[in-house]
């Protein structure tokens, strides 16, 4: 057996081992819940006791009680041991940091998979090498962050055990099999990640490269499953299922995992993680761009920032729709919960969230407009940018307009009720949806302009294509705005449905217009190369802004999602009787989120610095054949 065949054999074996690791926890777990259920039932029968049955609080099915009721806690050192500090704040900090790093290390391998795949399928060898190097640099950063994630996970568990032992004991009694699977999956994730990373150089060509790419797929499946399992815990805390009204486990672990909010949370978190990961990597590239000493480095980091931003924004665009689905499911699960979120106690946090979303899209658009500057031929779009700014600002102002005001009791009395005489007429959901859909549609339009910046279509039907595209966008704007205004003239129960056609209009622009543009740009005439590195420094600050806004918004949304349970550890099942079972003021929450953001960015800078210590130089041959000296991955967009 030759060395090449042996290498292939070992690679296939490693891949099979990864798949085995992936399946092992699932296979091992399958008999356990069933066996537990039967054993409990048998045990009860044998003893001649009556089998106690309970009714599932969500699924409304009957099941045999196999768990203890949720503990009724009291404020004291037994249930809530504490330091001379608010325990909730400590837990908040530990949780948030673990979540930031967890999101980052789950998102970056997905990036690597996409970029490595682009490198494998691209025909340009120099470009393929650059993609491969980029993916390798990403996974290297992710590896250091991965260790930190595990450490923060340990800190989080210890924080739970020491500060909230009764609650954590109850949660782990319900999720016992899931927690074991989680631990095994974590082992599988670590093993796969290390083989994937250390096997990079050994599996860089031909068939072995495909095996390596397959490993990244397995790695990401494991990572995603890990996240799904962790989501089941928060899903259970918000919308419990699989237990009776006393919180006793009814033996069906799938019901406990598959709660009303589990799927919307999963989708929202995948998209959020990807957008966040894109933002962090883009900020890293921006920092390196600003600190670069040579044109070559500037070109590389400009390109890296663009790729990361493009992936991040690609996942940012569907994110509001996933968020909308989550909120819809929250309303469907408990209307009161939805009202607390969007119309009550936490409503003003959504105004802050809307502001942050607006900033995200404004930053993305600003970056794309600046990026047009590195293309010859893109000047023709510059004079139209002011109209896009107008649309974005109008959409933004409508999106952040509140429906109610934060008022003192005296002000409320003077006004004669909750409804503000002027503001009460605005800020309804269909109008806000109109605002955000205008913003997203404008972002799609900016992206279409960027894609065709230095190109002229040569297809025979280009005139019709251009006119059709212009009319389609114009009609989409009219439709979105019309639906937003129409919402004011129809009852709330009809108005609520308008958001679906509004979203469909935006998605139509996204899918149809990007497809039409790609078809029109096939074989297009290039006006000049993309001059990577020749972009304003302002654009890089926009990337840093994008990343910071992502981080801040993640912290904010996590807080909103968690605090909607109000004084419950597990909604309507286990009450929080600690002295901190109240909702913080908006100001305190904002300060806490800012502190978390600051801590994350300082620590991630340390991770980046560690990663840069052994970073390989960008291959010099990448710049071969490019006028102006800057490496040019032509057609990378």
């Amino acid at each position: 057996m030759g060395p090449a065949t042996r290498k292939k054999l070992f690679s296939i074996m490693a891949l099979c081992a990864m798949v085995g690791l992936l399946l092992l926890p699932i296979i091992m777990s399958l008999p356990s819940p069933a066996a537990g259920e039967e054993a409990a039932a048998d045990g009860a029968k044998k003893e001649g006791d009556k089998v106690e049955k309970g009714r599932d609080v969500y699924y409304k099915t009957e099941g045999i009680v196999v768990g203890a009721p949720a503990p009724k806690t009291t404020d004291g050192p037994k249930d809530y041991p504490r330091y001379n500090f608010e325990s909730r704040v400590l837990l908040w900090f530990a949780n948030q940091q673990h979540l930031y790093y967890g999101s980052f290390v789950l998102a970056v391998p997905i990036f690597c998979m996409i970029i490595e795949f682009m490198g494998v399928v691209t025909k340009d060898k120099a470009l393929a090498k650059r993609y491969d190097q980029l993916a390798y640099d990403f996974i290297k950063i992710s590896l250091t962050a991965y260790s930190l994630t595990a450490i923060l996970g340990g800190i989080l568990i210890f924080t739970f055990l020491t500060l909230y032992p009764a609650f954590f004991g109850y949660l782990s009694s319900i999720f016992r099999p899931v927690m074991h699977i989680y631990a095994l999956m974590f082992v599988a994730e670590s093993g796969t990640l290390y083989i994937y990373y250390y096997g990079w150089d050994k599996m860089k060509e031909g068939f072995l490269k495909w095996i390596h790419l397959s490993m990244s797929v397995v790695l990401n499946i494991i990572g995603t499953l890990l996240m799904f399992l962790a989501n089941s815990w928060i899903g259970f805390m918000m919308s419990p299922a699989g237990v009776d009204e006393q919180g006793r486990f009814l033996g069906n672990i799938w019901h406990v995992i598959h709660t009303a909010l589990w799927n919307p949370l999963n989708v929202h978190r995948i998209l959020g993680n990807m957008a966040f990961g894109g933002g962090v990597v883009a900020a890293y590239a921006a920092y390196r761009f600003l600190a670069a000493k040579t044109d070559e480095d500037r070109a590389h980091y400009d390109w890296m920032g663009y790729i990361a931003m493009a992936i991040g924004v690609a996942f940012l665009i569907p994110l509001p729709f996933a968020g909308y689905w989550l909120m819809r499911e929250v309303y469907a699960y408990r209307q009161q919960m939805g009202i607390t979120l969007m119309g009550g106690l936490l409503a003003w946090l959504f105004i802050i969230q809307a502001t942050m979303i607006g900033i995200l899209f404004l930053s993305s658009n600003y970056y794309l407009w600046q990026a047009l500057g590195r293309m010859r031929g893109a000047e023709k779009y510059q004079r139209y940018i002011k109209y896009l700014v107008f649309l974005l600002v109008c959409g933004f102002l409508v999106f952040i307009t509140p429906h109610t005001m934060v008022m003192t009791p005296a002000e409320l009395k003077a006004m004669g009720g909750q409804q503000h005489p002027v503001l009460g007429n605005y800020g309804v959901m269909s109008a806000k949806n109109g605002g955000i859909n205008v913003i997203i549609t404008t972002t799609v339009l900016s992206f279409v302009w960027y894609m065709r910046g230095n190109k002229v279509s040569t297809v025979s039907w280009s005139k019709f294509g251009n006119i059709f595209m212009g009319v389609f966008f114009a009609c989409a704007y009219v439709n979105i705005i019309w639906l937003a205004i129409y919402g004011y003239y129809i009852p709330a129960n009809v108005r609520v449905g308008l958001s679906v056609p509004q979203v469909a209009t935006t998605l139509s622009c996204l899918f149809f217009m990007l497809a039409l543009n790609s078809a029109m740009m096939k074989g297009a005439k290039q006006m000049g190369p993309i001059e990577w590195g020749k972009i304003s420094a302002r654009s890089q600050y926009a990337l840093i802004m994008l990343a910071t806004a992502f981080t801040w918004m993640m912290g904010l949304m996590g807080y909103i999602r968690s605090s909607v349970r109000l004084f419950w550890h597990v909604n309507e099942i286990m009450r929080d009787n600690s002295p901190w079972a109240y909702t913080h003021t908006v100001g305190f929450a904002a300060n806490m989120i800012s502190f978390n953001v600051l801590f994350f960015w300082i620590s991630i800078l340390f991770v980046f610095w560690l990663g840069s210590l052994g970073m390989k130089k960008v291959p010099v041959e990448a710049k071969a054949g490019v006028p102006g000296g800057a490496p040019q991955p032509a057609g990378s967009h």
């Binding site: 005139k463 019709f464 006119i467 212009g470 009319v471 009609c475 009809v494 679906v500 209009t505």
Partner: protein, 40 residues
């Protein structure tokens, strides 16, 4: 110029029809009446 106007009219007819259908059917799928105000 005449050709551009023709293309514009064709595009407008397609787009208006498409978005009207989107509005109508997506409201209908939710059991809601898109034409509520006009029927009233």
């Amino acid at each position: 110029m005449g050709q551009a106007i023709l293309y514009g009219i064709i595009s407008l007819i397609i787009c208006v029809a498409y978005f009207t259908l989107v509005d109508h059917y997506l409201m209908d799928m939710q059991g809601l009446d898109y034409w509520y105000l006009f029927r009233k």
